[in-house]
Amino acid sequence: MRPFTYTRAKDVAAAVTDIRANSEARFIAGGTNLLDLMKIDVMKPRHLVDITRLALDTIEETDEGGLRLGALVTNADTAYHEQVEKRYPLLSHAILAGATAQLRNKATDAGNLLQRTRCYYFYDTDTACNKREPGTGCSAISGYNRNHAILGHSEHCIATHPSDMAVGLAALDARILVTGPQGERMLPISDLHRLPGNTPEKDTNLGENEIITAIELPPQGFAQHFTYLKNRDRASYAFALVSVAAGLEIEGGVIREARIALGGVAHKPWRRPEAEAMLRGKKASRENFQPVADAYVQGAKGFEHNTFKIELARRSIVRALMTAAKIEE
């Protein structure tokens, strides 16, 4: 690891001040992704601001009846939190589908959202990668691209976002609380991550010196009808080829609300609200789920090694919705 300097911030304001005062600085909390990337020279910060002492490590009730997850709560403490398990089991399942127990004990909720892609070429400093070194080209487009995007990619980058938690949060319409030099703001999780376009080096829409302080879960947790379906090459500790977070609100067999977010297919969790709306007022059934699945992958384009993911996504959506609706055939 390259040498760097270090400060330990005592509160959010000090953290924002420290990150601005040092060039090429990064926040560090769990460190499970950043230190890994620093060891192999993919990320080369010259200064780290330790934010683990900030008072952002609690889960609290919100006035609207939801939960606020402090940015520094670990993934394990979130997934196993009594209220999360009870009211947002979709989120628990999504978190526990990712990483290992050791990593989840250390990784924080905000850090999970800000982890970098696991594109093989992003990790391999001997190859071209527009995300790692803008302007060098994308090795994945014509290389081995099994875990790459089928939706929303650009000619500059076909990387996927690796987080399972983010996919669960996308289905829950979570909100991200952020503090920066200009003060606080809140953004929907759908606006946190971005598509690669011409600037794949940018994973998110956060400002340079902004820090995530919390994640808010709205009251609707879909605790009755949900599933997190993850397809991967190993039974455990592998990133998703295609994952589906599905939540349904069903009354008398009729769907009142449907949420579907896909992981492993794009640079961000993939939602299509207009396709979800197709299910409103409909009966929960395979016949009604199929057109939604078709709509979700509309415009998908695969590459040499990942075209199978288009059909996999389509079938996974139907299966996830069937599971969430508790329909057995």
Binding site: T7, T17, D18, R20, K39, T52, Y80, T100, Q102, L103
Partner: protein, 166 residues
């Protein structure tokens, strides 16, 4: 540069309680817990496998929780309690999980074993494993290249049952 920022450092004095003994240490800020244990304190029972958080050979207990020491900066854990494989036995009496690894022949080369043992202790404390499938899933952060998995699962099962009786 703005005024009133915290002074940047590349070395820092920290205090860690390692296997029950409080130690005052001065570390370069880029030193991982794993390198601190192995290179500075000669506690080489904790192993460096991949150094990327993938193999679990470096698993230790940090304030009672299993973590990958290779992906942890020592400086960030000032004030913490660390337990490594060296801290488990009481004198000549092995920790029950250590003894169970011997009884069940749950290793061959032994390189992953300290991590497997610390991970097992962490798993028991978490109390989330109910079935053999849970054990396999919750131990998936520890790789054994000799393939001693079937006996490792037996050890974890036995240790879990014993902890539930206790």
């Amino acid at each position: 540069m703005e005024k009133n920022t915290t002074a940047s450092v590349s070395k820092e004095k920290i205090s860690l309680t390692i296997n029950g003994t409080e130690q005052q240490l001065e570390v370069e800020v880029w030193t991982t817990l794993l390198d601190l244990l192995r290179e500075h304190l000669q506690l080489t029972g904790t192993k460096k496998g991949c150094d990327q958080g993938q193999c679990g050979a470096c698993t230790i207990l940090l304030d009672g929780n299993r973590i990958n020491s290779c992906l942890s900066l020592a400086v960030m854990h000032d004030g913490s309690e660390i337990t490594t494989i060296e801290g488990l036995a009481q004198g000549d009496e092995l920790h029950p999980v250590q003894q169970a690894f011997i009884d069940h022949d749950a290793f061959q080369c032994g390189y992953c074993t300290p991590g497997q043992i610390c991970s097992t202790i962490g798993l028991i404390k978490e109390g989330k494993a109910k079935t053999v499938d849970d054990i396999r899933d919750l131990m998936s952060g520890n790789i054994c290249r000799c393939g001693a998995y079937s006996n490792i699962v037996k050890v974890v099962q036995e240790a879990l049952e014993r902890s539930q009786q206790a």
